[in-house]
């Protein structure tokens, strides 16, 4: 692990652009973690408008699961 840090200063000076990208990635990861966000694979089917007005009913193997507003 030590060799990683031994030349860290020189490496940062040599690749400032990549170091900046890595910093952005780390910051993004923390923000996602603090907000409970997920980069890929969120399964929420409700749009912002529907969240306000109640969920849309759709789907179902014959399409008969529909028409319900739980509110």
């Amino acid at each position: 692990m030590f060799p990683l840090f031994r030349d860290l200063g020189a490496d940062l000076r040599r690749s400032p652009f990549y170091a900046g990208l890595l910093g952005l990635g780390l910051a993004g990861f923390v923000v996602l973690g603090l907000r409970g966000g997920r980069l890929l694979g969120d399964d929420n089917e409700t749009t912002e408008a529907e969240q306000q007005a109640g969920p849309r009913r759709a789907g179902g193997h014959g399409g008969y699961v529909h028409g319900f507003n739980h509110k």
Partner: protein, 495 residues
């Protein structure tokens, strides 16, 4: 940078024995062999003492000719040197390979023996330049045996050399002066080992010990600057040089990536410790629903008949069937109150409450352990009890199995999961609207709600994104090395 090489008048001249042309001689003390620039005769002479006599001859000047002018002076390898001889060499077994070598002699006469670096030479092949000097560190061999290894690591520098090439040279053209008979070099067996920017080579005459030389790669602009030329006057580079340094360095990017990966791991641990996950589980029974009202009635009647038959079997009363059916109908387990059940659903089920203490995601897992040869669809709405906001997901569970031609098969899954992320803190419950296939029995549905702060997928995706640049450089570095070893018969084995 000056673009005019520095010349000085030669110390003396020697006369070509064939065409009588005057060949300049800058180093009369050491030069004994000469190539006539006019008639291509190669002859031996002792300047100012012995007339020349022909040793060999070359048919014609091979293009492009010397790109560095003979007689020019410059500083290379820490020495003030003059270009005194030029030769074109090739390989006995490869008529296409052809390179040029320039002999370099000190500008100022050196008292006593030559420095250890001499003879100093420049070689140019496909626009790639090497400065060749005597090696001080090389593999040890017994007597006049040649080195048999394919790899060697210098104990003094730690450089690891790999066998690159071996060949026997032929001389195709020569101009200027030489302090040895270059035609004798056609007897040499040469091995070359590469460790960019160095090339270690051994030259072995028959029944003689190997003599080792170390070449260092020079950029064309270094050569041009040394002799006061412009780079455009030198041959253009093409292909990859045997000792050409790989411009795609990956060390910096990999080290920075390693530090970032370490920090990412630390942050993952920090999130897991400061925002622990919590889980609730629930179990429901989903009754099968007929597809329409008649089927529902039929199913209800069937359940009532079944219960009535059981009652009759117990009482032995065959007359009071209607009464028993009515009684059984009353005794049939009641389904949940239909008041909250929307049209098109069998019923609505409500889960326990899960409390999110901080912004988080919820991982929902549906499992129907008894599901066999039918399907169950669940539409679920995660409701924030304070704000009434709903987040909806739909999942289908289906599992089929059987035996066909003596082999059992199965497809589908008895469980499914969904993730709803970016949820604000608060109390949440799940409204479930399950639909089961008509004509099947009751289905047990197990539900698990898990609060998440960090996701392995976030970690992996960000780690992959971070690794794009070092991976890209790694691939380019590999491609460069492949192009280098394409010119060798001893390319490292690749899987």
């Amino acid at each position: 940078m000056s673009s005019t090489p520095t010349f000085a008048p030669p110390a003396t001249w020697v006369t070509c024995p064939k065409c009588q042309a005057q060949v300049p001689c800058y180093d009369p003390a050491n030069s004994r062999y000469f190539g006539c620039f006019k008639c291509r005769t190669y002859f031996r002479a002792v300047p100012e003492a012995e007339a020349g006599h022909q040793v060999s001859g070359f048919k014609r000047e091979l293009p492009p000719g010397p790109s560095l002018p003979l007689g020019a002076t410059g500083t290379l390898g820490g020495y003030q040197v003059r270009l005194t001889g030029y030769q074109v060499r090739g390989e006995k077994n490869d008529r296409t390979a052809e390179w040029r070598e320039y002999q370099l002699r000190p500008v100022q006469a050196i008292v006593g023996d030559d420095p250890i670096d001499f003879p100093l030479q420049l070689a140019e092949y496909q626009g790639h330049w090497l400065l060749i000097r005597r090696a001080t560190s090389f593999p040890a061999t017994k007597g006049n045996h040649s080195f048999q290894g394919k790899e060697w690591t210098s104990p003094s520098t730690g450089n690891g050399y790999r066998l690159w090439h071996h060949y026997q040279p032929i001389i195709r053209d020569a101009q200027g002066e030489f302090d040895w008979n270059i035609i004798d070099d056609e007897q040499l067996k040469i091995q070359e080992f590469t460790c960019p920017p160095y090339l270690l080579s051994s030259e072995q005459a028959p029944k003689a010990n190997s003599v080792w030389y170390l070449s260092e790669y020079l950029e064309p602009n270094q050569v041009a600057a040394a002799f006061g030329l412009s780079v455009s006057q030198l041959p253009s580079r093409y292909n990859t040089g045997a000792a050409e340094p790989n411009p795609h360095q990956t060390g910096t990017a990999w080290r920075l990536f390693g530090v970032a990966a370490l920090l990412l791991s630390i942050m993952t641990c920090w999130l897991a410790i400061t925002r622990p996950s919590s889980t609730i589980t629930d179990t429901f029974t989903v009754p099968a629903a007929p597809a329409d009202a008649d089927m529902a009635a039929t199913a209800a009647r069937a359940r009532a008949d079944s219960a009535a038959a059981a009652l009759l079997a117990f009482t032995g009363d065959t007359v009071g069937l209607a009464a028993a059916r009515a009684t059984a109908s009353l005794q049939t387990p009641a389904t949940p109150p239909p008041a909250a059940t929307p049209p098109g659903y069998n019923q609505m089920l409500v889960s326990k409450t899960i409390e999110l203490t901080h912004p988080a995601a919820v991982d929902i897992t549906f499992t129907a352990p008894g599901l066999t040869n039918h399907w169950l669809e669940v539409t679920a709405s995660l409701v924030n009890e304070q704000t009434g906001r709903g987040y909806e997901v739909t999942r289908s569970l289906e599992y089929y199995e059987g035996v066909e031609d003596g082999e059992s098969w199965s497809e589908g899954s008895r469980s499914a999961d969904a993730v709803i992320s970016g949820l604000p803190p608060g109390r949440y419950h799940l409204n479930l609207y399950p639909s089961a296939e008509a004509g099947t029995g009751d289905t047990t549905l197990e539900l698990q709600l898990e609060q998440h702060s960090g996701f392995a997928s976030n970690f992996i995706i960000i780690l992959l994104l971070m690794s794009v640049l070092p991976l890209y450089q790694f691939i380019r570095r590999g491609a460069f090395e492949n192009s280098r070893w394409e010119n060798s018969d001893f390319a490292p084995t690749t899987s």
